[in-house]
Symmetry: C2
Subunit: 239 residues, 2 copies
């Protein structure tokens, strides 16, 4: 959900057609209508856990988290990685309790948006409601896009797609798209891509051997983005 970024206050025109508002004009506005609690979460700690009461949405202000789906019989699946500007907890809207875990992968700062006030703000500001709906729709598209990747690409190509996704999200936050530090371990990448951690490790090693990337533990450099894009099944060289 990386289109929702915390933006500096923007003149809000409620009369202007909501769907044409650029994604930057978004949930960040909630801070002006809802009392936002700032919350620190240390690496390894849970922001929320499956089964806990749902009472707030969370906006990542700084740091890095993963969300995990878990089953009754103990299986676990990483469903996404969340960074600055991403909204967490939306999957629990309409429920009394959370249905997945959110775990900090590094020390993070989270803006907690208590849900009843959020609901009230949404009622008073239709544009905000529409932005939230659009954000949920985008989350669905993102999940489906990963279903496509996982359902149709072999291991190495999934890893390439993953690296490009992280790179793109870094770029949108103003960081380098070519050089970054992974905040998660091989096992988390593997779970997310429906692989095993050894396979991820081998794929990264191989991508390095063919000079598409350079990788040393968690430090990654993308050396040949067009080739990576081609590998990941994203033929367009532009964008």
């Amino acid at each position: 959900m990386d289109s929702i970024v915390v933006s500096p206050p923007v003149a809000s025109r409620h009369s202007q057609p909501a769907l044409d508002v650029p994604p930057e004009v978004t949930i960040g506005q909630l801070q002006r209508h809802v009392l936002v609690a700032r919350r620190k979460v240390r690496a390894g700690q849970y922001l929320y856990r499956s089964g806990q009461p749902f009472h707030a949405l969370y906006l990542v202000h700084a740091g890095f988290l993963k969300t995990c789906e878990l089953s009754d019989d103990g299986r676990e699946q990483v469903t996404g990685f969340r960074m600055r500007g991403d909204l967490l907890g939306v999957e629990s809207i309409g429920l009394a309790h959370h249905t997945c875990d959110a775990v900090a992968l590094e020390d993070s700062e989270i803006w907690e948006l208590p849900y009843p006030p959020v609901l009230a703000a949404l009622r008073h500001i239709p544009e905000l409601q529409e932005r939230l709906t659009a954000a949920l729709a985008e989350e669905i598209r993102r999940d489906r896009s990963w279903m496509l990747t996982i359902g149709t690409l072999p291991a190495e190509q999934r890893v390439a797609a993953f690296l490009l996704d992280i790179a793109g999200r870094h770029a949108r936050l103003g960081f380098s798209a070519r050089h970054f530090i992974l905040r998660m371990g091989r096992a988390d990448i593997a779970s997310f891509l429906a692989l095993k951690h050894e396979t991820v490790s081998r794929a990264l090693s191989h991508l390095e051997r063919i000079a598409y990337i350079s990788v040393l533990r968690r430090e990654v450099k993308l050396l040949d983005v067009p080739k990576l894009r081609e590998l990941a099944g994203m033929p367009c060289t532009v964008q």
Copy 2:
């Protein structure tokens, strides 16, 4: 999105807490605020295609459809099967164009809900907006649940989970959960479960050999639901 069912008109209490409204009190209400066009789609035809302008949501009134994600380089992934009561097109909210295909698997009747009127209705009836938001959240949970299944279960267990899902949705519509006709081919099941059609075929044959089901082409009977549930990683015998 099977929690959204077309319900008989229910007295709407805008003052009552929206989150406690049972799922049956839902989007069906839109028909009283939006001019609904009834649309027939024959088996094999598209309800909408990726790239077409987005101008409506669609409620399945009768029939059966699949949604497909597709990539620039021609890969294709079935992302879901939709039946009576399911809402389609929500993934395109906030966009000018659809990003996936919806294809009828049998002759279907669809209620078309033009989006601008829907938007207007949502603005006037906060409860309806909240139901739509909750429906999107549920769609996210459904997708993530399948990610867990596909990411952590081997082929035969995925097929078991699939059969139980179809059975449960049939039951919610008042049909038999133990005996049903699949509306999709092996290839569509396979794509949805990130398998090959031969693997699905073999899994079904094996489930029949161990007497968990009986299957003849598209006719399926569930002979041992508890065992199937255990296989699919859903240990609770109740519900």
